[in-house]
């Protein structure tokens, strides 16, 4: 498998970014869900991990976008209706945007409660806003809304990939997996 993207497939690096972020985003929902209703101390611990993972996602999203700049993605399969192409582009754009916006809002909402964010105890991130209860409430709601939007769009995105795989029987899903194409092209 190539490291870089080819004309028909995603390379190993792009695949690694994609699936690592998938796994981490799912982890985030599990951690956030579990934090509810825990004792204050346990909550501090689980949210510390949630914040560290969130900052990891932000970092990976930055690296991934940088990699993408120098690695044009393989085009969508020819012959699909125009609306599907557009829907794919819009949803990819939104997914990237949310991978940035959601962690940044989480970071800001932490600062708004005077809880600085530490990345796995190695680096403490700066606080860009002063503690402020009203700002915290707004940022909290926005963080949650963005996370939910991310979940909805990701589910649509996954459903579309599965539709390509099982109904259209093309390589759209396979090209993001370390498996051979259905119709080998090289």
């Amino acid at each position: 498998m190539h490291l870089r993207n080819t004309l028909t497939r995603y390379g190993a690096v792009a695949q690694l970014f994609h699936w690592a972020i998938v796994a981490l985003v799912i982890t985030q929902f599990v951690l956030a869900e579990r934090a509810e209703g825990l004792s204050p101390v346990a909550k501090i611990g689980i949210l510390a991990t949630h914040k560290s993972v969130g900052i990891t996602i932000l970092g990976l999203a930055l690296l991934r976008l940088t990699w993408r700049l120098f690695n044009p993605v393989p085009p969508l399969p020819a012959g699909a209706p125009r609306w599907q192409d557009r829907a794919a582009h819009v949803s990819h754009f939104l997914l990237y945007a949310l991978l940035f916006i959601t962690p940044v809002l989480g970071w800001l909402m932490s600062s708004a409660r005077a809880f600085s964010v530490s990345w796995f105890g190695l680096v403490t991130l700066p606080d860009f806003i002063e503690p402020n209860k009203a700002a915290y409430e707004t940022l909290h709601d926005a963080h949650e809304f963005m996370a939910k939007s991310l979940a909805v769009i990701a589910i649509v995105h996954a459903a579309a990939a599965l539709k390509h795989h099982f109904f259209d029987r093309d390589n759209v899903l396979r090209r993001m997996l370390p498996v051979r194409d259905r119709t080998p092209q090289s």
Partner: protein, 186 residues
């Protein structure tokens, strides 16, 4: 002596004046300009708290360390970490237990000069009814009739039982606490 009854008065007067001159200066704390803060660790990140209300009875003279004396009383319920939820947790029975122990008390009596404007003192801190020796390091800068007293102490919260039940855990809520003070005296 009978011949000169006034002499004995004079003798007493000299003695009193001498001891007054020798006794370390009694200072008055300027609460507005003074600050008593601490830095704790939560989820691997530092957070700062302030005690809004405290009194400090400071007798200090670099030339009379033996006669110097600090007596500080801190209103534990006046803790402010810029997050009301965290403040409520700190005031709760498992941490400061402010209802049962409304004040903390620090008394320093043994002072040592460390050269220049630097000094150390060994004192006893009583918190949650637990008394332990806590050394402090400080600088004393006098200018005319006012002086700045600035220093810090390192302590472990669990030494004083600040952390019962779940709060005994130190991975997410650090045991180390640094207390700092900047006092303006007149």
């Amino acid at each position: 002596m009978r011949k000169y009854p006034h002499l004995s008065y004079l003798f007493v007067l000299v003695l009193v004046c001498g001891s007054v001159a020798l006794a370390a200066t009694q200072w008055t704390l300027q609460p507005k300009e003074s600050k008593l803060t601490f830095v704790g660790i939560q989820a691997d990140a530092q957070f700062e708290g302030t005690f809004e209300r405290f009194t400090a009875d400071i007798k200090f003279d670099p030339k009379d360390l033996a006669g110097s004396h600090f007596d500080v009383k801190i209103d534990t319920a006046s803790v402010n970490t810029r997050d009301s939820e965290r403040d409520d947790a700190i005031k709760s029975d498992d941490l400061f237990a402010v209802k049962q122990f409304p004040s903390a008390h620090y008394v320093a009596e043994r002072f040592t000069a460390k050269g220049g404007n630097k000094f150390t003192a060994v004192g006893r801190l009583t918190l949650r009814n637990v008394t332990r020796e806590v050394p402090i390091e400080f600088t004393f800068d006098q200018k005319d009739k006012s002086a700045w007293l600035e220093g810090s102490a390192q302590l472990k919260r669990l030494d004083f039982g600040v952390g019962q039940g779940d709060w005994k855990e130190t991975k997410d809520v650090g045991n180390d606490v640094k207390v700092s003070f900047v006092l303006l005296l007149k």
